[in-house]
């Protein structure tokens, strides 16, 4: 039996949320981004801005060049997460099988429940209506309906904004023949270039290419490409209640300006390590592979990892290990720093500390976490890391931030 999958994609999500909150922004070209005169990029552009040619991931200076009267609105992640939670509640009314693909798009498997709501089209209409009534009239979504995730996503992308598109077996061929290769989720510019190099320019070219040729060029991904061209995607919906545990935690930061200064690098490294440690402990994990990635100003990279014989749970230990694997002398200016930890194990299965001092450290860490949970990140830290601690308080009240963040 064919599945029935809905893909709901919110249109210009962050920008629409801001326009919903502030009616004076409605009908105007706005973008949600970082500071306009920094290296930040556009996270979301409103429908009005998109009409002018401004796209997501465009740099802020580039966008300002296109539209000097563009309004830059700072992002408020908590606002968007709260609205996403509301969306999740709405989707849950129609099926328990909801997979959030990102903060603003979700797959719904309504194969078993569509009969309760007069069919999948009716469900899509009801979802659109519920969003308007329960969240706001300025938030719209595009819905794609099909028999697998790939085509449902394709359907929602084909009719924007506020669209509803159905891809069934009757119109599948005509849809596949009318789209570009990059319309598929999973084919970007790089893969398209490689395909063009092989003489593949259209979806029908891709469908005709033999599997062995694609496998030779793309490895295991070649099979996926072949399936894409034929509209085949057997991947199941992974509902939120059965999401697999994380494999790694990482944080990265792009510097406001390139730097050679090891002290700034240390500060950023400490901050990122603390954030990685906090997130890992929140999920009750410990890890033993620490990795660092540095991107230099010329876009070359340096990456190293270190496997330890013991598990780390504390941010300061992650920082020490991360610091030990980066080069002591930096010859190129650094643009971006990333710290991560992998090879995770639940803290319940970690070996108990042998020495009382180590046990005390764990107790201190959990006490610090409790205080930071209550009063905001970096409210309290170890005195030995005083120089690296970002004590400066920002306008955001109790949340403290490093000057460069």
């Amino acid at each position: 039996m064919d599945r029935t999958i809905l893909h709901v994609d919110m249109n210009s999500y962050f920008a629409s949320c801001e326009q919903q909150a502030d009616p004076y922004l409605r009908g105007k070209p706005i973008v949600v981004s970082g500071k306009p005169n920094t290296r930040s990029v556009i996270a979301s552009a409103s429908k009005e801005a998109k009409k002018l040619g401004i796209k997501s991931a465009m740099s802020t200076w580039e966008a300002k060049k296109i539209c000097p009267s563009l309004i830059f609105v700072p992002g408020q992640p908590e606002k968007y997460i709260a609205i996403t939670k509301k969306l999740f509640e709405i989707f849950q009314n129609y099926t328990p099988y909801v997979e959030f693909f990102s903060v603003d798009e979700a797959f719904l498997d309504v194969t078993a429940t569509k009969f309760l709501f007069e069919g999948e089209i009716e469900i899509a209409k009801k979802i659109k209506k519920s969003i308007l009534q329960e969240i706001g009239e300025y938030l719209t979504c595009s819905v794609g309906i099909s028999f697998n995730k790939l085509l449902a996503k394709l359907g929602s992308d084909l009719k924007k904004p506020d669209g509803l598109f159905i891809i069934n077996k009757n119109n599948l061929c005509s849809v596949l023949l009318s789209i570009k290769l990059t319309d598929f989720c999973g084919i970007g510019e790089k893969i398209e270039k490689k395909l063009n190099y092989l003489g593949i320019f259209t979806v029908s070219d891709l469908a005709k290419t033999s599997l062995s040729v694609l496998k030779q060029e793309f490895g295991i991904y070649g099979e996926k490409l072949k399936n894409m061209a034929n509209g085949i995607d057997p991947s199941p919906i992974v509902p939120t209640f059965s999401t697999p545990p994380p494999k790694s935690y990482s944080h990265s930061f792009t510097m406001p300006s390139d730097t050679y200064d090891i002290n700034i690098v240390k500060k950023v490294l400490f901050r990122l390590s603390e954030k990685v440690g906090r997130r890992m402990r929140m999920d009750n994990f410990g890890g033993r592979i620490v990795y660092v990635y540095l991107r230099f100003a010329d876009f070359t990279g340096f990456s190293r990892q270190k496997k330890l014989s013991y598990f780390l749970i504390d941010g300061k230990d992650i920082y020490k290990e991360a610091l030990s694997i980066i080069p002591s002398r930096i010859n190129k200016s650094i643009r971006m720093i990333c710290v991560g930890i992998s090879d995770l194990l639940l803290q319940n299965f970690l070996p108990l500390p042998l020495f009382p001092k180590e046990n005390n450290n764990r107790k201190i860490t959990s006490a610090l976490d409790l205080i930071n949970d209550r009063f905001g990140d970096f409210t309290i830290g170890r005195a030995s890391y005083f120089d690296l601690m970002p004590w400066e308080k920002t306008t955001a009240g109790i949340r403290t931030r490093l000057k460069i963040f």
Partner: protein
Amino acid sequence: MTFGFCSDYYKIMGDAIEEIVNVKAYFYSGKIFPYLISYKQREIPIKKVNLFYKTTDGAQTVLNFSLMGNGATYNVVFYPLKLLWKLIEIKPI
């Protein structure tokens, strides 16, 4: 309510009013519906709630409303533990 940084957007808007005000609201079925703001001896009936969302301030949950009433738009922040409301008038661009 405080903003993360002063972008062009907030510069255009000008200085926001940040005052503690009284807000009358209905509470039912676990939800909160403000309908009147008392501010500087004036009563502003709330015509429409544009957006309602929850954020956190430390461990405390804070309720944020964007409201329209009396021909103006306001951001209202409610701290349930302190039973305290803060009001910011949003000015047109």
